[in-house]
Protein backbone atom coordinates (compact mmCIF):
# COMPACT_ATOMS: atom_id res chain seq x y z
CA UNK A 1 0.00 0.00 0.00
CA UNK A 2 2.67 2.61 0.79
CA UNK A 3 4.19 1.87 -2.60
CA UNK A 4 0.83 2.16 -4.21
CA UNK A 5 0.24 5.52 -2.55
CA UNK A 6 3.73 6.72 -3.37
CA UNK A 7 3.30 5.78 -7.00
CA UNK A 8 -0.04 7.49 -7.23
CA UNK A 9 1.27 10.62 -5.54
CA UNK A 10 4.33 10.76 -7.73
CA UNK A 11 2.16 10.39 -10.79
CA UNK A 12 -0.16 13.09 -9.52
CA UNK A 13 2.70 15.55 -9.17
CA UNK A 14 4.09 14.61 -12.56
CA UNK A 15 0.68 15.00 -14.12
CA UNK A 16 0.17 18.41 -12.58
CA UNK A 17 3.51 19.61 -13.89
CA UNK A 18 2.84 18.25 -17.35
CA UNK A 19 -0.60 19.80 -17.41
CA UNK A 20 0.72 23.15 -16.24
CA UNK A 21 3.23 23.28 -19.07
CA UNK A 22 0.61 22.27 -21.58
CA UNK A 23 -1.85 24.84 -20.34
CA UNK A 24 0.73 27.58 -20.25
CA UNK A 25 1.84 26.91 -23.80
CA UNK A 26 -1.67 26.57 -25.04
CA UNK A 27 -2.86 29.81 -23.56
CA UNK A 28 0.23 31.83 -24.26
CA UNK A 29 0.14 30.55 -27.77
CA UNK A 30 -3.25 32.14 -28.14
CA UNK A 31 -3.28 34.92 -30.65
CA UNK A 32 -4.05 38.41 -29.57
CA UNK A 33 -2.12 41.12 -27.90
CA UNK A 34 -3.20 40.65 -24.36
CA UNK A 35 -2.75 44.20 -23.37
CA UNK A 36 -4.51 45.50 -26.45
CA UNK A 37 -7.53 43.37 -25.81
CA UNK A 38 -7.59 44.23 -22.19
CA UNK A 39 -7.52 47.93 -22.88
CA UNK A 40 -10.23 47.87 -25.48
CA UNK A 41 -10.56 49.26 -28.92
CA UNK A 42 -9.79 52.88 -28.18
CA UNK A 43 -6.55 52.28 -26.39
CA UNK A 44 -3.40 53.97 -27.55
CA UNK A 45 -0.30 52.06 -28.46
CA UNK A 46 1.69 53.57 -25.57
CA UNK A 47 -0.92 52.51 -23.07
CA UNK A 48 -0.81 49.00 -24.44
CA UNK A 49 2.94 48.73 -24.20
CA UNK A 50 2.86 50.16 -20.72
CA UNK A 51 0.37 47.56 -19.60
CA UNK A 52 2.35 44.76 -21.19
CA UNK A 53 5.37 45.95 -19.30
CA UNK A 54 3.49 46.37 -16.07
CA UNK A 55 2.41 42.75 -16.13
CA UNK A 56 5.69 41.48 -17.40
CA UNK A 57 4.14 40.14 -20.55
CA UNK A 58 7.17 41.23 -22.52
CA UNK A 59 9.52 38.89 -20.68
CA UNK A 60 10.65 35.55 -22.14
CA UNK A 61 8.10 32.74 -21.91
CA UNK A 62 10.23 30.57 -19.67
CA UNK A 63 10.59 33.36 -17.15
CA UNK A 64 6.89 33.98 -17.24
CA UNK A 65 6.17 30.30 -16.74
CA UNK A 66 8.35 29.96 -13.70
CA UNK A 67 7.07 33.22 -12.35
CA UNK A 68 3.54 31.94 -12.68
CA UNK A 69 4.31 28.53 -11.21
CA UNK A 70 6.33 30.01 -8.40
CA UNK A 71 3.46 32.24 -7.40
CA UNK A 72 1.00 29.40 -7.86
CA UNK A 73 2.98 27.30 -5.42
CA UNK A 74 2.75 30.09 -2.90
CA UNK A 75 -0.99 30.15 -3.39
CA UNK A 76 -0.91 33.33 -5.43
CA UNK A 77 -3.07 32.83 -8.48
CA UNK A 78 -2.27 36.23 -9.91
CA UNK A 79 -4.44 39.18 -10.71
CA UNK A 80 -6.78 40.21 -13.46
CA UNK A 81 -5.38 42.75 -15.90
CA UNK A 82 -8.60 44.60 -16.22
CA UNK A 83 -9.84 44.81 -12.69
CA UNK A 84 -6.70 43.99 -10.77
CA UNK A 85 -8.83 41.63 -8.72
CA UNK A 86 -7.04 38.60 -7.37
CA UNK A 87 -7.86 35.49 -9.34
CA UNK A 88 -8.36 33.61 -6.11
CA UNK A 89 -11.15 35.99 -5.13
CA UNK A 90 -12.70 35.72 -8.55
CA UNK A 91 -12.61 31.95 -8.43
CA UNK A 92 -14.00 31.75 -4.94
CA UNK A 93 -16.92 33.97 -5.81
CA UNK A 94 -17.70 31.76 -8.80
CA UNK A 95 -17.39 28.56 -6.90
CA UNK A 96 -20.51 29.33 -4.92
CA UNK A 97 -22.35 28.60 -8.14
CA UNK A 98 -20.20 26.05 -9.87
CA UNK A 99 -19.68 23.74 -6.93
CA UNK A 100 -23.35 23.39 -6.02
CA UNK A 101 -24.12 22.97 -9.70
CA UNK A 102 -21.47 20.32 -10.27
CA UNK A 103 -22.06 18.46 -7.07
CA UNK A 104 -25.83 18.39 -7.32
CA UNK A 105 -25.58 17.45 -10.97
CA UNK A 106 -23.30 14.59 -10.08
CA UNK A 107 -25.45 13.51 -7.17
CA UNK A 108 -28.58 13.63 -9.30
CA UNK A 109 -26.78 11.73 -12.01
CA UNK A 110 -25.77 9.04 -9.55
CA UNK A 111 -29.24 8.95 -8.00
CA UNK A 112 -30.59 8.25 -11.45
CA UNK A 113 -27.83 6.03 -12.70
CA UNK A 114 -27.34 3.64 -9.82
CA UNK A 115 -30.92 2.38 -9.51
CA UNK A 116 -31.61 2.64 -13.23
CA UNK A 117 -28.38 0.98 -14.25
CA UNK A 118 -28.76 -1.75 -11.69
CA UNK A 119 -32.35 -2.40 -12.65
CA UNK A 120 -31.65 -2.61 -16.34
CA UNK A 121 -28.67 -4.86 -15.69
CA UNK A 122 -30.72 -7.30 -13.62
CA UNK A 123 -33.89 -7.20 -15.64
CA UNK A 124 -32.77 -6.60 -19.18
CA UNK A 125 -35.44 -9.07 -20.27
CA UNK A 126 -38.29 -7.12 -18.75
CA UNK A 127 -39.93 -4.31 -20.71
CA UNK A 128 -39.02 -1.76 -18.06
CA UNK A 129 -35.40 -2.85 -18.09
CA UNK A 130 -35.27 -2.53 -21.86
CA UNK A 131 -36.97 0.85 -21.60
CA UNK A 132 -34.37 2.06 -19.13
CA UNK A 133 -31.61 0.89 -21.43
CA UNK A 134 -33.26 2.65 -24.35
CA UNK A 135 -33.78 5.85 -22.39
CA UNK A 136 -30.18 5.85 -21.36
CA UNK A 137 -29.16 5.44 -25.00
CA UNK A 138 -31.36 8.36 -25.96
CA UNK A 139 -30.11 10.39 -23.01
CA UNK A 140 -26.54 9.90 -24.12
CA UNK A 141 -27.47 11.21 -27.54
CA UNK A 142 -29.08 14.38 -26.20
CA UNK A 143 -26.69 17.33 -26.06
CA UNK A 144 -26.75 18.71 -22.56
CA UNK A 145 -27.45 22.22 -23.78
CA UNK A 146 -30.40 21.08 -25.84
CA UNK A 147 -31.83 19.42 -22.77
CA UNK A 148 -31.30 22.72 -21.02
CA UNK A 149 -33.00 24.70 -23.78
CA UNK A 150 -35.96 22.34 -23.87
CA UNK A 151 -36.33 22.31 -20.11
CA UNK A 152 -36.20 26.06 -19.96
CA UNK A 153 -38.71 26.29 -22.80
CA UNK A 154 -41.06 24.00 -20.94
CA UNK A 155 -40.67 25.01 -17.32
CA UNK A 156 -39.49 28.54 -17.86
CA UNK A 157 -41.25 29.90 -20.90
CA UNK A 158 -44.33 27.75 -21.23
CA UNK A 159 -45.16 26.92 -17.64
CA UNK A 160 -43.29 29.74 -16.02
CA UNK A 161 -42.49 27.69 -12.92
CA UNK A 162 -38.80 28.27 -12.80
CA UNK A 163 -36.46 30.96 -14.02
CA UNK A 164 -35.15 30.32 -17.52
CA UNK A 165 -31.80 31.63 -16.54
CA UNK A 166 -29.93 34.19 -14.58
CA UNK A 167 -28.65 34.11 -11.08
CA UNK A 168 -29.60 35.49 -7.72
CA UNK A 169 -26.91 35.46 -5.12
CA UNK A 170 -27.23 33.04 -2.24
CA UNK A 171 -27.21 35.75 0.40
CA UNK A 172 -29.56 37.97 -1.55
CA UNK A 173 -32.23 35.38 -2.00
CA UNK A 174 -31.46 31.86 -0.96
CA UNK A 175 -34.50 30.23 -2.49
CA UNK A 176 -34.13 32.35 -5.55
CA UNK A 177 -30.64 30.95 -5.94
CA UNK A 178 -31.92 27.45 -5.43
CA UNK A 179 -34.62 28.03 -8.00
CA UNK A 180 -32.16 29.27 -10.57
CA UNK A 181 -30.11 26.11 -10.08
CA UNK A 182 -32.99 23.66 -10.43
CA UNK A 183 -33.17 23.47 -14.21
CA UNK A 184 -29.41 23.53 -14.77
CA UNK A 185 -28.95 20.76 -12.25
CA UNK A 186 -31.72 18.71 -13.80
CA UNK A 187 -30.30 19.09 -17.29
CA UNK A 188 -26.83 18.22 -16.14
CA UNK A 189 -28.01 15.38 -13.90
CA UNK A 190 -30.25 13.81 -16.52
CA UNK A 191 -27.61 13.73 -19.19
CA UNK A 192 -24.86 12.65 -16.85
CA UNK A 193 -27.26 10.10 -15.38
CA UNK A 194 -27.92 8.67 -18.82
CA UNK A 195 -24.30 7.99 -19.54
CA UNK A 196 -23.55 6.82 -16.02
CA UNK A 197 -26.52 4.47 -16.26
CA UNK A 198 -24.68 2.69 -19.01
CA UNK A 199 -21.55 2.34 -16.96
CA UNK A 200 -23.41 1.23 -13.88
CA UNK A 201 -25.35 -1.22 -15.99
CA UNK A 202 -22.26 -2.77 -17.44
CA UNK A 203 -20.43 -2.75 -14.12
CA UNK A 204 -23.34 -4.47 -12.39
CA UNK A 205 -23.78 -6.85 -15.30
CA UNK A 206 -20.11 -7.65 -15.10
CA UNK A 207 -20.11 -8.18 -11.38
CA UNK A 208 -23.37 -10.08 -11.27
CA UNK A 209 -21.94 -12.51 -13.81
CA UNK A 210 -18.95 -13.17 -11.61
CA UNK A 211 -18.52 -16.53 -10.02
CA UNK A 212 -18.51 -15.11 -6.53
CA UNK A 213 -22.01 -13.76 -6.94
CA UNK A 214 -23.11 -17.22 -7.98
CA UNK A 215 -21.39 -18.52 -4.85
CA UNK A 216 -23.27 -16.02 -2.74
CA UNK A 217 -26.51 -17.17 -4.29
CA UNK A 218 -25.55 -20.79 -3.81
CA UNK A 219 -25.05 -20.19 -0.12
CA UNK A 220 -28.53 -18.84 0.25
CA UNK A 221 -28.59 -15.18 -0.67
CA UNK A 222 -31.57 -13.99 -2.61
CA UNK A 223 -30.95 -12.12 -5.82
CA UNK A 224 -31.49 -8.83 -3.98
CA UNK A 225 -29.19 -9.74 -1.10
CA UNK A 226 -26.51 -10.83 -3.50
CA UNK A 227 -26.86 -7.57 -5.35
CA UNK A 228 -26.76 -5.38 -2.30
CA UNK A 229 -24.24 -7.23 -0.20
CA UNK A 230 -21.87 -8.53 -2.83
CA UNK A 231 -22.65 -6.99 -6.19
CA UNK A 232 -22.73 -3.29 -5.43
CA UNK A 233 -19.71 -3.39 -3.19
CA UNK A 234 -17.70 -4.89 -6.02
CA UNK A 235 -19.32 -2.80 -8.72
CA UNK A 236 -18.48 0.30 -6.70
CA UNK A 237 -14.86 0.02 -7.76
CA UNK A 238 -15.29 0.32 -11.50
CA UNK A 239 -18.09 2.82 -11.01
CA UNK A 240 -15.89 5.01 -8.84
CA UNK A 241 -13.24 4.97 -11.53
CA UNK A 242 -15.71 5.96 -14.18
CA UNK A 243 -17.14 8.70 -12.03
CA UNK A 244 -13.64 10.01 -11.48
CA UNK A 245 -13.11 10.13 -15.21
CA UNK A 246 -16.52 11.63 -15.79
CA UNK A 247 -15.66 14.59 -13.58
CA UNK A 248 -13.73 16.04 -16.49
CA UNK A 249 -16.76 15.64 -18.69
CA UNK A 250 -19.04 17.00 -16.01
CA UNK A 251 -17.00 20.16 -15.95
CA UNK A 252 -17.33 20.37 -19.72
CA UNK A 253 -21.06 20.04 -19.27
CA UNK A 254 -21.15 22.87 -16.76
CA UNK A 255 -19.44 25.21 -19.21
CA UNK A 256 -22.36 24.76 -21.53
CA UNK A 257 -25.06 24.65 -18.93
CA UNK A 258 -23.81 27.81 -17.30
CA UNK A 259 -24.07 29.44 -20.69
CA UNK A 260 -27.55 28.10 -21.40
CA UNK A 261 -28.84 29.36 -18.09
CA UNK A 262 -26.67 32.46 -17.86
CA UNK A 263 -25.15 31.36 -14.60
CA UNK A 264 -22.05 33.33 -13.69
CA UNK A 265 -20.08 30.27 -12.69
CA UNK A 266 -16.46 29.36 -13.02
CA UNK A 267 -16.75 27.96 -16.51
CA UNK A 268 -18.45 31.04 -17.80
CA UNK A 269 -15.75 33.09 -16.24
CA UNK A 270 -13.18 31.11 -18.17
CA UNK A 271 -15.14 31.52 -21.37
CA UNK A 272 -15.32 35.28 -20.91
CA UNK A 273 -11.69 35.54 -19.95
CA UNK A 274 -10.49 33.46 -22.85
CA UNK A 275 -12.23 35.92 -25.12
CA UNK A 276 -10.68 38.82 -23.22
CA UNK A 277 -7.24 37.14 -23.24
CA UNK A 278 -6.98 37.49 -19.51
CA UNK A 279 -4.21 34.98 -19.68
CA UNK A 280 -3.40 34.89 -16.00
CA UNK A 281 -7.00 34.39 -15.01
CA UNK A 282 -7.51 31.65 -17.59
CA UNK A 283 -4.24 29.91 -16.86
CA UNK A 284 -4.71 29.83 -13.15
CA UNK A 285 -8.36 28.91 -13.27
CA UNK A 286 -7.93 26.16 -15.81
CA UNK A 287 -5.01 24.89 -13.80
CA UNK A 288 -7.15 24.85 -10.68
CA UNK A 289 -9.80 22.85 -12.46
CA UNK A 290 -7.27 20.40 -13.76
CA UNK A 291 -5.70 19.99 -10.36
CA UNK A 292 -9.15 19.47 -8.98
CA UNK A 293 -9.99 16.77 -11.50
CA UNK A 294 -6.65 15.10 -10.96
CA UNK A 295 -7.15 15.29 -7.23
CA UNK A 296 -10.51 13.60 -7.58
CA UNK A 297 -8.90 10.89 -9.65
CA UNK A 298 -6.15 10.55 -7.09
CA UNK A 299 -8.75 10.19 -4.39
CA UNK A 300 -10.60 7.62 -6.45
CA UNK A 301 -7.37 5.71 -6.89
CA UNK A 302 -6.61 5.84 -3.21
CA UNK A 303 -10.19 4.93 -2.42
CA UNK A 304 -9.77 2.02 -4.76
CA UNK A 305 -6.87 1.01 -2.62
CA UNK A 306 -9.01 1.16 0.47
CA UNK A 307 -12.00 -0.60 -1.05
CA UNK A 308 -10.06 -3.28 -2.83
CA UNK A 309 -7.99 -5.47 -0.53
CA UNK A 310 -6.06 -6.74 -3.54
CA UNK A 311 -4.52 -3.31 -3.81
CA UNK A 312 -4.57 -2.39 -0.16
CA UNK A 313 -2.72 -5.45 1.03
CA UNK A 314 -0.17 -5.51 -1.75
CA UNK A 315 2.23 -4.03 0.80
Amino acid sequence: MPIYIARKLAFFILAVIAASIAIFLLIRGAGGNVAAVVLGKDATAEAINALAQQYGLDRPMVVQYFDWIGKLLQGDLGRSFRTNESVADLVVSRLSISIPLCVSGLVLGLLIAIPAGTYSALYSDRPLGALVALLSQVGIAVPVFWAGILLSLLFGVRLGWLPTGGWTNWDANFWGAVRSLVLPVISLGLILGASLTRYVRSAVLDVMNQDYVRTARATGMTQMQALLQVGLRNAALPIATVVGLQIAELIGGTVIIETVFSLPGLSRMILANVAAREVIVVQSTVMLIIIFVMLINLIVDLLYGVLDPRVRLAR
Binding site: P2, I3, A6, R315
Partner: protein
Amino acid sequence: MTIERRPLLALRDVTQSYQLPRTSLFGPRSSFTVLDGIDFDVCAGEAVGLVGESGAGKTTLTRILTGMERPQRGQVEFDGQDLWAAGAAERTRFRRSVQMVLQNPRSSLDPRMRIGTALLEPLRSLRIEGNHTRRIHEVLDQVGLDRSALGRFPHEFSGGQLQRIAIARALMPNPRVLVADEPVSALDVSIQAQVLNLLKDLVQDLQLGLVFIAHDLSVVAYTTSRVSVIAAGRIVEVGRPVELFTRPAAPATRNLVDAVLTVESGLAGTAL
Protein backbone atom coordinates in the same frame (compact mmCIF):
# COMPACT_ATOMS: atom_id res chain seq x y z
CA MET B 1 20.92 -49.23 -25.89
CA THR B 2 23.37 -46.82 -24.32
CA ILE B 3 25.24 -45.84 -27.41
CA GLU B 4 26.87 -42.44 -27.31
CA ARG B 5 24.13 -39.88 -26.72
CA ARG B 6 24.43 -36.93 -29.02
CA PRO B 7 21.85 -34.42 -27.80
CA LEU B 8 20.24 -32.32 -30.48
CA LEU B 9 19.21 -29.59 -28.13
CA ALA B 10 20.56 -29.14 -24.65
CA LEU B 11 20.54 -26.75 -21.74
CA ARG B 12 23.71 -26.64 -19.67
CA ASP B 13 23.54 -25.22 -16.19
CA VAL B 14 20.89 -22.72 -17.14
CA THR B 15 19.78 -20.16 -14.59
CA GLN B 16 17.14 -17.56 -15.08
CA SER B 17 15.62 -15.06 -12.68
CA TYR B 18 13.17 -12.21 -12.84
CA GLN B 19 13.03 -8.96 -10.98
CA LEU B 20 10.12 -8.75 -8.62
CA PRO B 21 8.04 -5.61 -8.28
CA ARG B 22 9.07 -3.34 -5.47
CA THR B 23 7.84 -4.33 -2.08
CA SER B 24 9.20 -1.47 -0.08
CA LEU B 25 9.45 2.17 -0.92
CA PHE B 26 13.20 2.28 -0.72
CA GLY B 27 15.66 -0.54 -0.73
CA PRO B 28 16.61 -2.80 -3.60
CA ARG B 29 14.27 -4.76 -5.77
CA SER B 30 14.48 -8.41 -5.03
CA SER B 31 14.67 -10.98 -7.75
CA PHE B 32 13.22 -14.41 -8.04
CA THR B 33 15.11 -17.37 -9.44
CA VAL B 34 12.82 -19.29 -11.73
CA LEU B 35 15.36 -21.71 -13.12
CA ASP B 36 18.39 -22.73 -11.16
CA GLY B 37 21.22 -24.69 -12.75
CA ILE B 38 19.15 -26.66 -15.19
CA ASP B 39 20.66 -29.41 -17.32
CA PHE B 40 18.32 -30.75 -19.89
CA ASP B 41 18.63 -32.35 -23.30
CA VAL B 42 16.78 -34.09 -26.07
CA CYS B 43 18.05 -36.34 -28.88
CA ALA B 44 16.64 -37.03 -32.30
CA GLY B 45 13.80 -39.55 -32.25
CA GLU B 46 13.45 -39.20 -28.55
CA ALA B 47 10.48 -37.93 -26.56
CA VAL B 48 11.50 -36.28 -23.34
CA GLY B 49 8.96 -35.36 -20.72
CA LEU B 50 9.03 -32.53 -18.25
CA VAL B 51 6.67 -32.59 -15.30
CA GLY B 52 6.29 -30.41 -12.30
CA GLU B 53 3.85 -28.47 -10.24
CA SER B 54 2.37 -25.26 -11.44
CA GLY B 55 4.94 -22.50 -11.25
CA ALA B 56 7.85 -24.90 -11.17
CA GLY B 57 9.37 -23.24 -14.21
CA LYS B 58 8.29 -25.45 -17.07
CA THR B 59 7.12 -22.73 -19.40
CA THR B 60 10.17 -20.62 -18.64
CA LEU B 61 12.31 -23.57 -19.57
CA THR B 62 10.56 -23.87 -22.95
CA ARG B 63 11.13 -20.21 -23.60
CA ILE B 64 14.83 -20.70 -23.12
CA LEU B 65 14.82 -23.90 -25.05
CA THR B 66 13.29 -22.21 -28.06
CA GLY B 67 15.60 -19.22 -27.92
CA MET B 68 12.92 -16.73 -27.00
CA GLU B 69 14.73 -15.74 -23.85
CA ARG B 70 18.38 -15.57 -23.14
CA PRO B 71 19.33 -17.24 -19.87
CA GLN B 72 21.28 -15.27 -17.35
CA ARG B 73 23.74 -18.06 -16.96
CA GLY B 74 24.46 -21.30 -18.81
CA GLN B 75 24.33 -22.37 -22.41
CA VAL B 76 21.73 -23.38 -24.87
CA GLU B 77 23.35 -25.80 -27.26
CA PHE B 78 21.92 -26.83 -30.55
CA ASP B 79 23.78 -29.52 -32.44
CA GLY B 80 26.65 -28.92 -30.10
CA GLN B 81 26.87 -25.19 -30.78
CA ASP B 82 26.16 -22.47 -28.27
CA LEU B 83 23.10 -20.69 -29.56
CA TRP B 84 23.79 -17.31 -28.03
CA ALA B 85 27.37 -17.31 -29.23
CA ALA B 86 26.51 -18.43 -32.74
CA GLY B 87 26.29 -16.34 -35.88
CA ALA B 88 23.24 -15.25 -37.76
CA ALA B 89 23.18 -18.21 -40.12
CA GLU B 90 23.38 -20.59 -37.22
CA ARG B 91 20.55 -18.76 -35.50
CA THR B 92 18.36 -19.04 -38.57
CA ARG B 93 19.06 -22.75 -38.73
CA PHE B 94 18.07 -22.96 -35.07
CA ARG B 95 14.85 -21.11 -35.67
CA ARG B 96 13.88 -23.52 -38.40
CA SER B 97 14.84 -26.54 -36.45
CA VAL B 98 13.19 -25.90 -33.12
CA GLN B 99 9.44 -25.45 -33.19
CA MET B 100 6.80 -25.24 -30.54
CA VAL B 101 3.25 -26.34 -29.84
CA LEU B 102 1.42 -24.28 -27.27
CA GLN B 103 -1.13 -25.11 -24.64
CA ASN B 104 -4.28 -23.47 -25.87
CA PRO B 105 -5.20 -24.62 -29.36
CA ARG B 106 -7.81 -21.94 -29.78
CA SER B 107 -5.44 -19.09 -29.07
CA SER B 108 -2.58 -20.70 -30.98
CA LEU B 109 -4.01 -19.64 -34.29
CA ASP B 110 -4.87 -16.16 -35.40
CA PRO B 111 -8.66 -16.16 -35.65
CA ARG B 112 -8.48 -13.88 -38.65
CA MET B 113 -6.07 -15.93 -40.67
CA ARG B 114 -7.04 -18.86 -42.89
CA ILE B 115 -5.46 -22.16 -41.97
CA GLY B 116 -3.58 -22.26 -45.25
CA THR B 117 -2.01 -18.88 -44.62
CA ALA B 118 -1.21 -19.78 -41.04
CA LEU B 119 0.62 -22.86 -42.22
CA LEU B 120 2.66 -20.87 -44.70
CA GLU B 121 3.67 -18.26 -42.14
CA PRO B 122 6.68 -20.13 -40.73
CA LEU B 123 8.00 -20.81 -44.22
CA ARG B 124 7.68 -17.19 -45.22
CA SER B 125 9.09 -15.89 -42.00
CA LEU B 126 12.02 -18.25 -42.02
CA ARG B 127 12.52 -17.68 -45.75
CA ILE B 128 12.33 -21.32 -46.63
CA GLU B 129 12.29 -21.93 -50.36
CA GLY B 130 10.74 -24.85 -52.16
CA ASN B 131 7.38 -26.11 -53.19
CA HIS B 132 5.21 -24.81 -50.41
CA THR B 133 1.99 -26.41 -51.60
CA ARG B 134 3.55 -29.81 -51.62
CA ARG B 135 4.96 -29.26 -48.19
CA ILE B 136 1.57 -28.25 -46.84
CA HIS B 137 -0.09 -31.33 -48.25
CA GLU B 138 2.64 -33.50 -46.87
CA VAL B 139 2.27 -32.06 -43.40
CA LEU B 140 -1.51 -32.23 -43.49
CA ASP B 141 -1.21 -35.91 -44.24
CA GLN B 142 1.19 -36.35 -41.37
CA VAL B 143 -1.25 -34.87 -38.87
CA GLY B 144 -4.26 -36.49 -40.47
CA LEU B 145 -6.13 -33.44 -41.70
CA ASP B 146 -8.13 -32.97 -44.84
CA ARG B 147 -6.99 -30.47 -47.50
CA SER B 148 -10.30 -28.73 -47.32
CA ALA B 149 -9.10 -27.31 -44.02
CA LEU B 150 -6.79 -24.87 -45.80
CA GLY B 151 -9.43 -22.38 -46.82
CA ARG B 152 -11.14 -22.23 -43.48
CA PHE B 153 -10.80 -20.12 -40.38
CA PRO B 154 -9.86 -21.43 -36.93
CA HIS B 155 -13.32 -20.99 -35.45
CA GLU B 156 -14.61 -23.66 -37.79
CA PHE B 157 -12.58 -26.34 -36.04
CA SER B 158 -12.75 -28.22 -32.79
CA GLY B 159 -10.04 -28.02 -30.16
CA GLY B 160 -8.47 -31.31 -31.16
CA GLN B 161 -8.39 -30.34 -34.80
CA LEU B 162 -6.87 -26.99 -33.94
CA GLN B 163 -4.15 -28.64 -31.96
CA ARG B 164 -3.39 -30.79 -34.99
CA ILE B 165 -3.21 -27.69 -37.10
CA ALA B 166 -0.89 -26.09 -34.57
CA ILE B 167 1.28 -29.19 -34.73
CA ALA B 168 1.15 -29.06 -38.50
CA ARG B 169 2.31 -25.46 -38.45
CA ALA B 170 5.18 -26.41 -36.18
CA LEU B 171 6.14 -29.18 -38.59
CA MET B 172 6.14 -26.95 -41.67
CA PRO B 173 9.80 -25.84 -41.55
CA ASN B 174 10.81 -29.47 -41.13
CA PRO B 175 12.04 -29.02 -37.57
CA ARG B 176 14.22 -31.42 -35.72
CA VAL B 177 12.92 -30.62 -32.29
CA LEU B 178 9.34 -30.03 -31.25
CA VAL B 179 8.60 -28.46 -27.89
CA ALA B 180 5.05 -29.01 -26.69
CA ASP B 181 3.96 -27.10 -23.60
CA GLU B 182 0.90 -28.79 -22.15
CA PRO B 183 -0.53 -29.54 -25.58
CA VAL B 184 -3.44 -31.61 -24.29
CA SER B 185 -4.50 -30.00 -21.04
CA ALA B 186 -7.18 -27.94 -22.77
CA LEU B 187 -8.59 -30.90 -24.63
CA ASP B 188 -11.37 -33.31 -23.89
CA VAL B 189 -10.45 -36.81 -22.80
CA SER B 190 -11.57 -38.42 -26.01
CA ILE B 191 -9.64 -35.90 -28.08
CA GLN B 192 -6.56 -35.92 -25.89
CA ALA B 193 -5.80 -39.48 -26.93
CA GLN B 194 -5.85 -38.49 -30.60
CA VAL B 195 -3.23 -35.81 -30.07
CA LEU B 196 -1.03 -37.93 -27.84
CA ASN B 197 -1.01 -40.67 -30.44
CA LEU B 198 -0.17 -38.21 -33.16
CA LEU B 199 2.81 -36.84 -31.27
CA LYS B 200 4.09 -40.30 -30.58
CA ASP B 201 3.82 -41.21 -34.25
CA LEU B 202 5.67 -38.11 -35.32
CA VAL B 203 8.60 -38.87 -33.08
CA GLN B 204 8.82 -42.31 -34.57
CA ASP B 205 8.22 -41.42 -38.19
CA LEU B 206 10.20 -38.22 -38.47
CA GLN B 207 12.88 -38.94 -35.92
CA LEU B 208 11.86 -35.76 -34.16
CA GLY B 209 13.14 -34.78 -30.79
CA LEU B 210 10.08 -34.06 -28.67
CA VAL B 211 10.01 -32.11 -25.44
CA PHE B 212 6.64 -32.78 -23.89
CA ILE B 213 5.39 -30.85 -20.92
CA ALA B 214 2.45 -31.59 -18.71
CA HIS B 215 1.64 -31.59 -15.08
CA ASP B 216 -0.19 -34.88 -15.32
CA LEU B 217 2.47 -37.52 -14.86
CA SER B 218 0.47 -40.31 -16.45
CA VAL B 219 0.04 -38.37 -19.68
CA VAL B 220 3.75 -37.59 -19.82
CA ALA B 221 4.65 -41.12 -18.99
CA TYR B 222 2.49 -42.43 -21.79
CA THR B 223 4.01 -40.16 -24.38
CA THR B 224 7.69 -40.10 -23.52
CA SER B 225 10.54 -42.43 -22.82
CA ARG B 226 12.44 -40.21 -20.42
CA VAL B 227 11.03 -37.79 -17.89
CA SER B 228 12.60 -34.93 -15.97
CA VAL B 229 10.87 -33.75 -12.84
CA ILE B 230 11.22 -30.07 -12.13
CA ALA B 231 10.45 -28.47 -8.81
CA ALA B 232 11.05 -24.87 -7.80
CA GLY B 233 13.31 -24.26 -10.76
CA ARG B 234 15.54 -27.29 -10.30
CA ILE B 235 15.51 -30.65 -12.03
CA VAL B 236 15.10 -32.97 -9.10
CA GLU B 237 14.91 -36.29 -10.83
CA VAL B 238 15.33 -37.84 -14.27
CA GLY B 239 14.33 -41.31 -15.28
CA ARG B 240 12.23 -43.67 -17.31
CA PRO B 241 8.54 -43.22 -16.62
CA VAL B 242 8.02 -46.69 -15.23
CA GLU B 243 10.84 -46.26 -12.80
CA LEU B 244 9.66 -42.89 -11.67
CA PHE B 245 6.23 -44.33 -11.06
CA THR B 246 7.38 -47.28 -9.15
CA ARG B 247 10.39 -45.87 -7.32
CA PRO B 248 10.11 -42.11 -7.04
CA ALA B 249 13.16 -40.78 -5.24
CA ALA B 250 12.68 -37.06 -4.92
CA PRO B 251 9.83 -35.78 -2.72
CA ALA B 252 8.56 -33.69 -5.61
CA THR B 253 8.35 -36.78 -7.77
CA ARG B 254 6.60 -38.65 -5.03
CA ASN B 255 4.05 -35.88 -4.80
CA LEU B 256 3.39 -36.07 -8.49
CA VAL B 257 3.15 -39.82 -8.48
CA ASP B 258 0.84 -39.67 -5.51
CA ALA B 259 -1.30 -37.22 -7.38
CA VAL B 260 -1.96 -39.58 -10.23
CA LEU B 261 -5.42 -41.01 -10.08
CA THR B 262 -6.37 -43.98 -12.18
CA VAL B 263 -9.69 -45.64 -12.69
CA GLU B 264 -8.13 -48.81 -11.44
CA SER B 265 -6.94 -47.45 -8.15
CA GLY B 266 -10.22 -45.68 -7.71
CA LEU B 267 -12.20 -48.85 -8.16
CA ALA B 268 -9.87 -50.62 -5.87
CA GLY B 269 -10.56 -48.02 -3.21
CA THR B 270 -6.89 -47.14 -2.86
CA ALA B 271 -6.96 -43.89 -4.73
CA LEU B 272 -7.50 -41.39 -1.93
